[in-house]
Structures are given as structure tokens and as C-alpha cells.
């Protein structure tokens, strides 16, 4: 079996596929968004999903999380069909899955502490003292020590993303899906969030997919890149291969050029 070591130091083999998408198709009001997506993500691999705005990246991510159902095709997470799995298997699947929403999706009527403690209180039998320790540790890990008593509306965009990340990571998921984690943040905070994701990935070795437009910074932290274009995966591979691609479309997108096969209308 072929094995490789990814950037986080995790050894992945060809049989260690955690996320497998097969010929996924989805339309909205007759308009096809995903037109036969096939993709595999190995264990411990951090993959960047890139593409033009509105090309369906977030839609694809929501299919992986089971928030949307495909018209046809399948999404498998650890060989479980996300759209069909039910009951305890679904609960087990979701237990191992974290999703960082674009806006954070923090519960706005709860403090940061209660937000991070919420999944532990609801899904585990941990005592409050243990929960407190875990929450404080997790907030420290994302650089939010001291913000426990604040409400999401009192936090900056970057802090909200960090708090949301802490809430997702507190249950130690095996898979993390990041939906545009740097959108709406200034370049420095955006870079800091990506650095944080990189550090956490190295420590926790989760399998991750990042939907982003921050191409060059994200290329420094991911193992693989997939470019979504016109409803399909146009190209995928290590970041170096994408950067040196001879494909005119890929080159135009990566360099952000106006002239090229992608029309700017």
C-alpha cells in the first residue's frame, strides 16, 4: 500500500479515505450548481477547496455535513452515506464532525463560555468542573482567555471565529469543515486564523476541508487543493502543482488575472 506523510506529520495511505464524494449533483430552482463532483480526502489531510464566488463550494461543504441532500450521487464519510445514515450511526457521524460556519453561528443569547460548554453539557456526562477546565483550555488554545463572560455581539469578527472554532474543537472532531474562515476579516487577523487552523491541525491531526478565497496564504498550510469550476472539480493536487499548473484556467484563477478563459461577467 502506498503511504505518504502529510504536512501535519500524519501518515496516510490509499485506503485511509475519510471523505469520498461520488458523482454528486445538485440543482437549485432548475439551475445546476454541482454537476458530477467526485473527490476523495484522506485521513489527516487538510484540503483547500477553491473556486469563484457562487460556484458551489459552500453548497458542497453543506452536502458533506449532511445539511443538504443531493439530487443524485453520494457523499461517504468513513463509508457511511451521509444522506441516508440515521439514528445512532448519524449521531456517531456528527459527533466526529466539526463545522466552522462563515458567520461563526455562535448562539447569540449565550456567553462565549456557555457557547463552548454547550456541546459538552448536552452531549456528554461530564461534571461542571471538568467542563470548566476543558472550556478554559480550549479558549486558551484559540487565544481567547478572558473572553469567557462576553456575548458574541461584544466580540470582533476574528474573535467570533476563534470562539466558534473553540466550540467545534472542544469535542475533538476527527473531521473539520471550514466555510470561508477568513471572510470579513482584515488580512492580519485572517492570516492569524489560518495560522491557528494550521497549528490545531498539526496538534489534533483532524481531516479538514477549507473553503477559502485566501489562496496564497492557505496554500502554505494545506496538503492538497481542489479547484471547483462550473459544477465540477477542474483540478486537484498538492499546492505546488496547482501553482505551477500549465492549465490556462487554473493559472488565471490562481493569479487573479482578468484576461483568460474565465469570463469576468
Amino acid at each position: 500500500m502506498h503511504e505518504s506523510v502529510n504536512r501535519a506529520g500524519a501518515v496516510t495511505g490509499e485506503n485511509d479515505v475519510v471523505i469520498r464524494i461520488e458523482d454528486l449533483r445538485r440543482s437549485f430552482d432548475g439551475f445546476p450548481v454541482l454537476q458530477g463532483i467526485s473527490l476523495e480526502v484522506g485521513k489527516g489531510v487538510l484540503l483547500a477547496l477553491i473556486g469563484r464566488s457562487g460556484c458551489g463550494k459552500s453548497v458542497l461543504l453543506r452536502h458533506m455535513a449532511g445539511l443538504l441532500r443531493p439530487d443524485s450521487g453520494q457523499v461517504f464519510i468513513r463509508d457511511m452515506d451521509v444522506a441516508r445514515v440515521k439514528g445512532r450511526a448519524l449521531a456517531r457521524l456528527r459527533q466526529g464532525l466539526g463545522f466552522l460556519f462563515q458567520g461563526g453561528a455562535l448562539f447569540d443569547s449565550m456567553t462565549v463560555y456557555d457557547n463552548v460548554a454547550f456541546p459538552l453539557r448536552e452531549k456528554t456526562r461530564m461534571r461542571e468542573a471538568e467542563i470548566r477546565q476543558r472550556v478554559v483550555d480550549e479558549l486558551g488554545r484559540v487565544g481567547l482567555s478572558g473572553a469567557e463572560g462576553k456575548y458574541p455581539s461584544q466580540l470582533s469578527g476574528g474573535m467570533q471565529k476563534r470562539a466558534a472554532l473553540a466550540r467545534e474543537l472542544v469535542c475533538e472532531p476527527e473531521i473539520m469543515l471550514f466555510d470561508e474562515p477568513t471572510t470579513g476579516l482584515d488580512p492580519i487577523i485572517g492570516h492569524a486564523i489560518l495560522k491557528l487552523i494550521d497549528d490545531l491541525h498539526r496538534k489534533m491531526r483532524f481531516t479538514g476541508i477549507i473553503v477559502t478565497h485566501e489562496l496564497h496564504k492557505v496554500f502554505e498550510i494545506v496538503d492538497r487543493v481542489a479547484l471547483l469550476h462550473e459544477g465540477g472539480i477542474r483540478v486537484q493536487g498538492p499546492p505546488e502543482d496547482i501553482l505551477s499548473s500549465e492549465d490556462a484556467l487554473v493559472r488565471q484563477f490562481v493569479r487573479g488575472e482578468i484576461e483568460g478563459p474565465i469570463s469576468v461577467r
Binding site: A65, L67, L90, A91, R94, Q95, L97, G98, F99, F101, Q102, G103, A105, L106, F107, D108, F118, P119, E122, K123
Partner: protein
Amino acid sequence: MGIHHAIRKLGASTLTGIRRLGLMGLFLGQGILFCLVPPLKISRLVKQIHFIGLQSMLVILLTGLFTGMVLGLQGFYTLNRFGSDAFLGPMVALSLIKEMGPVISGLMVTGRAGSAVTAEIGIMRLSDQIDALTLMGLNPFRYLVVPNLLAAAIALPLLTAVFDVVGIFGGYMVGVKLLGVGSGTYFGEMANYVDISDVAEGLYKSFSFGVIIAWICCYKGYYTGIHTGFGAEGVSRATTQAVVFSSVLILVWDYFMTSILF
């Protein structure tokens, strides 16, 4: 071409309407099912009883008092024409207990608490908080719908009882203190003509109105975005629809309960 287009549009909107009615029915069925199947989120339930019940108290006291006072005033002048002003007490009490108490309490709670429930759930939907709950492996119905359904079903009969008592007191203030009906006559005739079944009728109604308010307001909030459009406008539309639909349904259901059940 024009006729074809119009017929197609009519058919599509009819099918959408039927589909949404079915969805509403399923939503209520699921809500009731999760009310019966433990675990129940007690802290959320208490919080919602406080929000829907206790925080509606002031508006119920005010509307109850003035409804009773108006009934006392109108009732006295009407009954006085026939020399029957001794029946002012039963008239005020029966009007309040059987109809006005449950209906006006229902409408007030819809406006005060129902709209807020729709807006809260709608904003949670649009800011992905409901999806976040789902992805945590938690059932959004248990957190958002069940506490509101139970809280409204518990709070509405209690609020209606308060409305009735305050309304009867309002009628007393106007009829007895202002217009000179005898105090003994006002309450004595009331005891003769108001039966426990009348009180039960009012309480059954208010219980069902509580379920209607929570059902419609939660439903409209839950499907904000998909059915009403996105953003602030979507929440505003969902809230308006929730209040209008709940209010209309309360009046329609009131008629059916009165004519069929009693």
C-alpha cells in the same frame, strides 16, 4: 401563451400551498411527538413560560381591565333599555369567560410573544445557529419548538384566567361603582348563571390557542429564508405572517370550537 402561463402559475402556487399546508401539519405532529418523548429541556421550558406567560402579564392586566370596563358600560346601557340591568354580572362574566378572555388573551400573546418567538427562531435560522445545533447531533425541535409549544399551552389558560378575573373586576368598577348596579346583584346573578362548564370551555379554548400560537410562530421562524426570503426583510415578513396567520387562525378555530364542540 398568456393563458398557459397563468394556468401554470396558478397550478404551481396551488401545489406550493398544498405542500406547505402538509409541511405545517407535519411540523405540528413532530412538535407534539417530541413533547411526549423525553428528554424534556426543563430549563428552556421554564424560560419560555417566563417569557410567554409572566412577561405578558402587564398587557393582559391592562386589556382585561378595559375589556371588562367596556363590557360593563355597553352591557349596562343595553340591558337598561329592557329593564334587565340586574343581569349585567352574568353578561360580563359569560362574555369574558367563554369568548373574549381566551380570544383577546390569544391575540395579545400572539402580538407580544409570538412575534418575538418567530423573530428569534428566524434569526437563528439565518445565522446558521439551527444548522449548528443539528451538526452537534442535537434535535432543534427539542430546543426551539417543544419548549414554546408546552410553554404557550401552559401559559395561555393561566393568562386567560387572569384576564377573566380582572375583566370581571373592571365590569364591577363601571357597573357597580359608576352606574349604581347593586354589588350583591352583580355577583349573585353571576353565580346563578355561570357554570363550571363555561369556565372549562374558556380554558379548553385558551389551551388550543396556545398551541396554535406556538405552532404557527415556531413554524414561520423555522422556515424563515426558505419560505419568506433572506435577510432582515425575510425575518420581518416571517414575523408579520406569523402574527396575521395566528390571529386569523385563532378566530376561525374559535368559531369551530364554539359551534361544533359546545
